[in-house]
Amino acid sequence: MSVEVLESGFDPWAKLAGYHGGGEGREKSGATAVFVGTMRDFNEGDEVHGMLLEHYPGMTERHLEKISVEARGRWELDDSLIVHRVGELQPGDPIVLVAVWSAHRKAAFEACRWLMEELKSRAPFWKKEQLSDGSRWVEHNTEG
């Protein structure tokens, strides 16, 4: 089980290739579900040129660990990985990676999606978008 908040860019596929978890025997897993969120270049009809992602150091990591543990209580999981960017982002940059390993695809899919919804609704991250004519804090989250 791993949680990472990164100040600099990351490649989600390289992260996954390099992640070996707690040596928990991936050959048991069978099913891996992954979600990758990347920065879009539009929002609410406006072109977005860049984004600043703020977080609450300490509380953010704690919250992501808490939901990772909770997911393992709700589903039979072998492992999970959450990576989230903070700082200055450009369109196309990966923002978030959530990966879940399980013996069963139903558990893997459901836990991965649940982790994303939990992360979006409660993990302390805030986005400020840079538009052509200034910047604005994002006030609403996108629907699940």
Partner: protein
Amino acid sequence: MHVQVRFFASLREKAGFAERRLEVPAGTTVAEVWAQALPGEPLPDNVLAARNMEYVALDSPVQEGDEVAFFPPVTGGER
């Protein structure tokens, strides 16, 4: 007693500072910490509060040495 109050994102910009040490009376609640930190500034409806990095209700009491944080709705994940 003393608490450390912190603001994030748009609330940090509204407050004009990121954190401050406050002296508050015993029995002070989270909402009263806001009022003392930003006198005259109404508490937004959608504000979230954390005490020592755990979500907390606005009427919870605070204790000596607590870190009390206020922030707007969170917007992590993809967009």
